[in-house]
């Protein structure tokens, strides 16, 4: 199926869930990633079960933070 990942068209197998997509995209630390699906931020607990559909728009980015210590 065709998805739009971070703004770019990409192919993924039918039935791919968010967790699998992150693996396919070689996201090394998925626990530190926020995923937005069609404009809605997903709860992390749904990553395993949220199956993507043709034409879905997926955005993901890493947590960005730090500190001065």
């Amino acid at each position: 199926m065709r998805l739009f990942i971070n703004g770019e068209a990409a192919e993924a197998p039918d039935g791919t869930a968010v967790t699998e997509l992150l693996k396919l995209r070689r996201v090394s630390q998925p626990d530190m990633v926020t995923v937005e699906l069609n404009g809605e931020i997903l709860e992390r607990k749904t990553f395993d079960t949220k199956v993507l559909k043709e034409g879905d728009r997926v955005e993901f980015l890493y947590f960005m933070g730090g500190g001065s210590r």
């Binding site: 926020t34 955005e59 980015l61 947590f63 500190g67 001065s68």
Partner: protein, 134 residues
């Protein structure tokens, strides 16, 4: 490696850092070809003098705006209101995003702000050259 930061962007960073002090400020820098042309001040969700964390919804909005402008995220920026412009242990531990420059603006010496940039090399910070220009 060199990163050029447009003067207007630098002043926006400085203004954001000074306004937020004594809390840390944070934001994203967009541009292309090693030149930062756009600064996105984001909310420090931690509202802390020693920590920062960005809000994902604001991060997504900034990234999409960069895409619409034909630029990309070049750097992740934050301020150190009362400590030097170096990557702290926490900065290093939480530097998950690959392929970006980490910019830190120190206000330790109020009359002499210090902006430095780093890339991670095997988990270690390598300082790069920062040029503020037109």
């Amino acid at each position: 490696m060199k990163l050029t930061i447009e003067r207007t962007v630098y002043h926006a960073m400085l203004k954001a850092a000074r306004r937020a002090a004594p809390l840390e400020a944070c934001g994203l820098c967009g541009g292309k070809d090693g030149r930062v042309t756009q600064f996105y001040e984001l909310t420090n969700a931690d509202a802390s003098a020693e920590h920062f964390g960005m809000k994902p919804e604001e991060q997504f909005a900034a990234i999409k705006d960069m895409r619409a402008k034909g630029i990309r995220m070049l750097a992740i920026w934050h301020s150190h209101p009362a400590s030097p412009a170096r990557m702290s242990e926490e900065d290093l531990r939480l530097a998950y995003t690959p392929g970006v420059i980490y910019l830190i603006l120190s206000l330790l010496k109020p009359g002499k702000p210090d902006l430095r940039g780093f890339v991670l090399n095997g988990g270690n910070p390598d300082e790069i050259s920062i040029v503020v220009g037109q």
